[in-house]
Amino acid sequence: MSLEKTKENWLIKLIKLFRDYTANQVFNSSEKEGANPFLERTIENWLMSVNELGYQMPFSQLLLNEGYSVLHQSKHTAFEQGKDIIALDKKGIPCAFQLKGGNITNARWRAEVKVEVEELIDYKIVHPSVDKDKKHRSYLVTNGELDETVRLAIDNLNSGKWKDAPLIVITRGELLNKFVKLSSNFIPRKVSDYKSFLDLYFSDGRELIDEKQYTNFIKSVLRLNEQNLSKEERRRNITTAILFTSYIISKFKKKDNHIAIIQTLTLLCAYIFALVEKHNLNNKYWLNSFKILWKEIMLTGQFLQEEINQGGLIKLVTSIWDGELGSYRKHLASSYLFAYKIAQLIEGDTNWKDIATNEFFLKLKETLRIWGEASLFSFILVFLYVNKSSAKGDLAELFKPLYTPIEAIIKFNGRKSEVGMLSPYYNITTAIKRKFGLLEEPIDENFARRSFMIKPLIDILARYGKRKELEGYWREITYIEQEDFTPDELWRHFLWRCDIGENKSRFPKQSESWKELAKDAKKIDLNLIPKSIQKHSYFLPFFLLVYPHRINTNYIKFLDEAIQKVS
C-alpha cells in the first residue's frame, strides 16, 4: 500500500473517531448523518472572521437555495436605504435584508443600526421587479450576536411601532447552521480534497490563488466529470462550490486583495460554465448563482478602481523588494482594472468610461510591463478600451499598445532570439521566480521563433486597417511560428488544463495578401466559442486574463466585435 493511501486511511479513521466523539457536542447540525466537525469548525472560523461584505455573496446564494429570487445585492453606497439584499420569497413577497458584521451591542444599536433598520422597514423597496404597493418583510442579519438589551428593544418595537412590519433577526447560530448544512453537500471523496481546501483556506491572503490547486478542488466539489447526477444535484453542487469559494476568498477579502478575489471567482465562473456546457444545464439550475458571482466580481472591480483612484499604485510599496516587484504588482492592478472596465462596457454599464480622463490615465502611466506572452493581453485590453473611449487623442499613440507587444515578440521570440519570452502557460509568479533564479525546477523549454500571441495581434491590426505598420513587421513575422491550442469540445475551454485537444503551429505565408489577411481578420468562427461566452461576452475579458493560454485570434476578434457592437 502506498504511503499516500496509508495516510488517507489513517486520516479517514481519525475523522470518523473525531466525529463519533464530538457528535451532539459541537453543533446541532452534527446530529445529522455525515456531519463533519472539521468542516464545521472551519466554517465557524470563517463566519466569525468576516464582515458583512465577506458573507454577502454566500448569503445571497443561501437565499437562492431556499427558493428566493435575489433581485439586488448592495454595492454599499449611501443610497440603498438600509437594504443590502432585495429578494422575493417563494410566494413573491418582497424581502429586504440588512447585513451586519460582528456583535450588535446596545451602543452600536443606538448609534448605527437602529437608524438603518428604520430605513429598512419604513422605506419602500424601489426596484423594477418589486410592486411598490406590496408590503415587504425586513430582516436584520448578523454573523455576531445581539446584546440582550438590543433583543428586548427589538421585541418591544416589533410589538409596538413595527407591529405591522416586524423585524426578523438572523444571528450567528442560525447562519452557521444554514451554511454548514449547505456545505455538507460536499463530502470529499479523497483526503487530498480536504487538504486542498485547508491549504487554500489558510493560504496567504496577499498573493494570487494557486490556480491548479483551486481548480482541482472546485472540479471535485462540482463533480464535473460524474455522469448520472440529477439537475437538482448539479444545482446543489454549484451552491456548495460558491460557499466553499466564499470561505477561500475570505482570506483575500480580509486583505482587500481585490485581484485575487476576481481571479478566483473567474475560475469558479469558468468551471460553472464547463458544467453547464458539458451537462446541458438549463438556466434555472445555474444562472442566478452565476449572477451572484458576477455581481461580486463587478463589485470587487469597483473596489479595485477606488483603490487605484486613491493612489493605490503609489501606496503599494510595503518593502524594499517593491523596487523590483512593484512593477509586476502594478501590471496586475492595471490589467484587472481594464478587464473590469471592458466588462462594464460590454454589459452596458455607463460607468465604463469613468476612468477615461487624463487624471486617471496619469495614475496608470507605465504600469504595464512585459514579463511573458501572458502579459501581452493586457496591452490589447488597453487598446480596446482607449479606442472605444473618447480619450483617443493622437492616433499613433492609440495603436502603441498593439505595436509594443508585437515588437516585443519580434525582439524576444524572433529569428535572432535564443530563448524567447515565456509562453502563456507560465504565470506572473513563475516569471518573477525565473527572473530572480527562484524556480525550484529550471524551465528548459525554448520559446524562440514561436508565439501564441502574434496571430491575435496581427489580426487585430488588420481589423483596424494597419497595413503599412504590418508591412513593416512582416518579414520578421514570417520567421515566427504561430501557435494555438484548441480543446476538442467547447466545455473543455473552461478547464485549467485540458487533456483532449490539438496543439497547432503554422508559419505565416511569406508573401501574404493584405486583402486576404484583412478579410480573414474579420471572420469569427462561432463554432469555436462556447455558448456561455457568446451569451455572457462581458465575462470574456476576465476569462482571457485569468486563462491566457486560451487566447487565440478567434477569441480576440470576438471580444473586439462585442465591444464594437456597443453603441
Binding site: 528548459d444 504590418l470 518579414r475 514570417t478 490539438e502 496543439n503 497547432k504 511569406q510
Partner: protein, 200 residues
C-alpha cells in the same frame, strides 16, 4: 514503520530528475540545437511547415530503467545513484538522437535529397552538398548560417587528416568554390527575403 525522511527523499528525487534531463540534453547535442518544446495540454500536435504542408506529429516514448534489490539499495551511495542515472541518460539520449537520425534518413530517402552517387566524404562532396541545400544568412553576406555537420568520430578524424593533406592551391580552390556557392546562396537568400512581404 521506522521514521523516514520523506521530504528530503522527495528533494533528492526532484534533483535527480533535473540532473537526468540535463544529462540527456548534454548527450543529445544535435537534438538540443532544435530547442525543447513542452506540450502543456491536449493529446495531439500538428504543424504546418514553411511550405505549408500540414503534418501530424507522433509522440515517441523514450524510456530507460534499472532495477535494484533491497540489499543493493541499502548499500547504494549518492555517487553510485548518479552513475546509474548517467547510464540511463546515455541510453535515453541514444534512443532520442538515434530516432532523429532515423527520421532524417527516412525523409532524405523519401525526398531523394542525397548527393548524386552518394560519394565518400571529401572536400568536393562537401561543396556538392553545400550547393544542394538552402542556406540562410544573418542579414548580410558575411554571416551565413552554415549547416552543422554530423559525422562518426572516425570519419571526423579522417576529414581532419584530409584537410591537413590539402595543398595551399587546393585550399584556395576550395575556398574560392565555397565563396562562389555562398555568393549564389546569398542571392537566393535575398530573393527569398524579398518575398517576405504583404502584397495586394
Amino acid at each position: 514503520m521506522i521514521v523516514d525522511f520523506t521530504s528530503i527523499k522527495e528533494k533528492f528525487h526532484q534533483g535527480i530528475n533535473i540532473f537526468l534531463r540535463e544529462e540527456v540534453k548534454r548527450r543529445t547535442p544535435f537534438l538540443s540545437m532544435v530547442g525543447t518544446r513542452y506540450i502543456h495540454e491536449g493529446n495531439r500536435t500538428s504543424c504546418e511547415t514553411v511550405d505549408h504542408e500540414e503534418k501530424n506529429l507522433d509522440y515517441k516514448k523514450v524510456e530507460s530503467g534499472f532495477s535494484l534489490t533491497r540489499e543493493e539499495m541499502s548499500e547504494m551511495t549518492f555517487k553510485e545513484i548518479v552513475e546509474k542515472v548517467q547510464e540511463s541518460a546515455k541510453d535515453m539520449a541514444g534512443q532520442m538522437e538515434g530516432g532523429v537520425f532515423q527520421t532524417l534518413n527516412e525523409m532524405i530517402n523519401k525526398t531523394g535529397n542525397i548527393i548524386p552517387g552518394n560519394p565518400p566524404f571529401s572536400p568536393e562532396a562537401f561543396l556538392k552538398g553545400l550547393e544542394m541545400i538552402r542556406i540562410d544568412f544573418d542579414d548580410t553576406r558575411e554571416k551565413p548560417n552554415l549547416p552543422s555537420l554530423v559525422m562518426h568520430p572516425k570519419l571526423a578524424q579522417k576529414a581532419k587528416e584530409q584537410e591537413a593533406r590539402m595543398t595551399n592551391k587546393e585550399k584556395r580552390q576550395f575556398d574560392k568554390k565555397q565563396k562562389e556557392i555562398l555568393d549564389k546562396k546569398y542571392k537566393q537568400y535575398v530573393a527569398r527575403e524579398n518575398k517576405r512581404k504583404l502584397v495586394d
